[in-house]
């Protein structure tokens, strides 16, 4: 069974503060993804990665950075958090390089920026 974990599960941050969301996968997938999901909307892609050392911009990358230090780990970084970044963030893994395969999601991180 695919295994994607996220930490923290809940986070309250202050405006202007730095936030790091972490994701770990044990599926040995090359591709990893960060999405945010807001009420009434589907998931929107922030950043993704094709493998260790690779990060690519998704559809809504502004205000976010990503880091992929290893095959297993993919982090999402908010250098200067803003209230508009209050959301639920999902990490996923699936597929290799540019080819899509079934994605498996982590449990989500609920971020509140005050």
């Amino acid at each position: 069974e695919a295994a994607v974990t996220q930490s923290p599960r809940n986070k309250v941050a202050v405006t202007g503060g730095k936030v790091t969301l972490s994701c770990n996968q044990t599926n040995n997938h090359n591709n990893m993804y960060w999405y945010r999901q807001d009420t009434g909307h589907g998931l929107r892609l922030i950043h993704y990665s094709y493998g260790a050392g690779s990060t690519e911009k998704g559809d809504i990358p502004d205000g976010y950075k990503a880091s992929r230090p290893s095959q297993e780990n993919f982090s999402l970084i908010l250098e200067l958090a803003t209230p508009s970044q209050t959301s639920v963030y999902f990490c996923a893994s699936g597929g290799n390089w540019g080819y899509y395969a079934e994605q498996f999601f982590g449990p989500g991180t609920r971020l509140t920026v005050l």
Binding site: Y33, Y35, G40, H41, G42, L43, R44, L45, D59, V88, F90, G98, Y99, Y100, A101, E102, Q103, F104, F105, P107, G108, R110
Partner: protein, 108 residues
Amino acid sequence: GDQVEQSPSALSLHEGTGSALRCNFTTTMRAVQWFRKNSRGSLINLFYLASGTKENGRLKSAFDSKERYSTLHIRDAQLEDSGTYFCAAVTGGYKVVFGSGTRLLVSP
């Protein structure tokens, strides 16, 4: 741009009944994936289709890339089926586009 229109946005069913969810695509998609977001907020994989149909218990999904749609049929709905259902389509350029979700409430 590539878009996914998911309908209905909300659906209420009584236990034992059934219905269908649908995603229409503005362009040809390579594959589609269906998820359920449960009460704990977790995304549960339901189906991944590159073509044709798949069935799993009381759920059945179909994907027609030529006609640009996918459906998810639920029969004999149970209380635990409640949640928000999402489709996610893979574009020709291997981007993934999500529908806005269908909130399903199953009541006794």
